[in-house]
C-alpha cells in the first residue's frame, strides 16, 4: 500500500514503540492477577460475612426456640423500625458531585450521542 505521510516522529520512536508493545504479553500476565486481586478480596469478605452471619443466626434461633428471649422479641416487633421524620426528611443530599471523567464515562456507557448532549445543553 502506498502512503502519503506529512509528519515525522521523534528519532528512534518506532524501534522504541516495538520494544514497548512486545512487552504486552508479559505485562498482561502480571497485571491479570493484580486486576483479579480486589475481586478475590471481595469474594473472601463476602464468604466471611456469610459464615459469621449464619453462625450468629443459628445461635440466636436456637436460643429463641429454647424460649430465652421470646418476650423481648414480641415487644421489638411492635416498635416501628423507621423513624418517620428521618424517612420523610427533606434534608439536602450530601453526595459528592461526580467528576467530569465520571460524567463522560456515564455518557459513553449509556450510548448518549454527541448531538443529544449538544441539544440538551442548548435547551438549558
Amino acid at each position: 500500500m502506498e502512503r502519503k505521510i506529512y509528519h515525522n516522529v521523534p528519532e528512534g520512536y518506532f524501534e522504541n514503540l516495538k520494544t514497548r508493545l512486545s512487552a504486552i504479553p508479559q505485562e498482561e500476565a502480571v497485571s491479570g492477577w493484580s486486576r483479579m486481586r480486589p475481586y478475590a478480596a471481595l469474594v473472601a469478605a463476602f464468604v466471611a460475612i456469610v459464615t459469621v452471619g449464619s453462625a450468629i443466626l443459628t445461635l440466636s434461633s436456637r436460643s429463641i426456640l429454647s424460649g430465652e428471649h421470646s418476650e423481648e422479641f414480641g415487644i421489638a416487633e411492635l416498635i416501628p423500625s423507621i423513624d418517620s421524620y428521618l424517612y420523610y426528611s427533606e434534608s439536602d443530599d450530601t453526595t459528592e458531585v461526580s467528576s467530569e471523567d465520571d460524567i463522560l464515562e456515564y455518557l459513553i456507557q449509556t450510548h448518549t450521542s454527541v448531538e443529544q448532549i449538544a441539544y440538551l445543553g442548548n435547551e438549558n
Partner: protein, 179 residues
C-alpha cells in the same frame, strides 16, 4: 512474515512469537492510521498501547473468518472512534467542538513536515463527518481497497463509494475557498 504464517504460529501455540510478529508488521502502519484521526503524536502513542493490549486479549477469539489485516484494522479503528467520541464529549462539556480542536492540533503540530497546501488539506479533512473522514483517509492516504474498508468499517462498498465521493467534493470546495 505473512498474515497466514502469523496465524500458523498462533495455532501452533507460539502465542508470544505470533504477537511479536504482529507488532513488527503492524505497529508502524497502525501508528499512521491512528495518527491521521487523532492529529497528535502523544495521543496516538497512548492509543496504540491500548490497541495492542486489545489485540493480545482478542487474539484467542480470532477465528480466521476475516483477514488478519482487516481484523487488526477494525480493532484499531474502533478504539480510535471511541477515543474521538470521548474527546468530542470533552470538547462539548467545555463549550468547544471536536472539529475546532482537531484543526488546532493540525495547525500546531510540531511534527508536521509538509507544505502549506498539505496542511490545508489536513484541516479540510477534519471538517468532514466521521464516516466520510474515515473512508477518505483510508482511500487517499493508504490507498486501501473499498472491499477492505468495507470489512473494517462494516459498511457496504456502494455506501463507502458514495461517502468518498461526497468527501472528495467537500474537500475540493473547501480548498477552493483558500486558493
Amino acid at each position: 512474515m505473512s498474515d497466514k504464517e502469523i496465524i500458523g504460529l498462533w495455532n501452533s501455540g507460539q502465542h508470544e512469537r505470533a504477537f511479536n510478529e504482529i507488532v513488527s508488521g503492524y505497529s508502524e502502519r497502525l501508528y499512521w492510521h491512528v495518527r491521521r484521526f487523532t492529529c497528535c503524536h502523544e495521543d496516538t502513542d497512548d492509543l496504540l498501547q491500548e490497541i495492542f493490549v486489545k489485540i493480545w486479549a482478542a487474539l484467542p477469539s480470532f477465528r480466521g473468518e476475516a483477514q488478519l489485516f482487516t481484523w487488526i484494522y477494525r480493532i484499531a479503528t474502533n478504539e480510535t472512534l471511541n477515543f474521538l467520541r470521548k474527546k468530542s464529549l470533552r470538547s462539548l462539556l467545555s463549550s468547544g467542538s471536536l472539529t475546532a480542536e482537531l484543526e488546532r492540533l493540525v495547525e500546531d503540530d510540531p511534527y508536521f513536515n509538509g507544505d502549506e497546501a498539505e496542511r490545508l488539506l489536513l484541516k479540510a479533512i477534519q471538517k468532514l463527518p466521521t464516516k466520510q473522514r474515515m473512508v477518505f483517509t483510508m482511500r487517499y492516504f493508504d490507498d486501501m481497497k473499498y472491499e477492505d474498508i468495507s470489512e473494517i468499517l462494516g459498511s457496504s462498498v456502494s455506501s463507502l463509494k458514495a461517502s468518498y465521493h461526497f468527501a472528495h467534493e467537500k474537500i475540493k470546495g473547501l480548498l477552493k475557498e483558500n486558493f
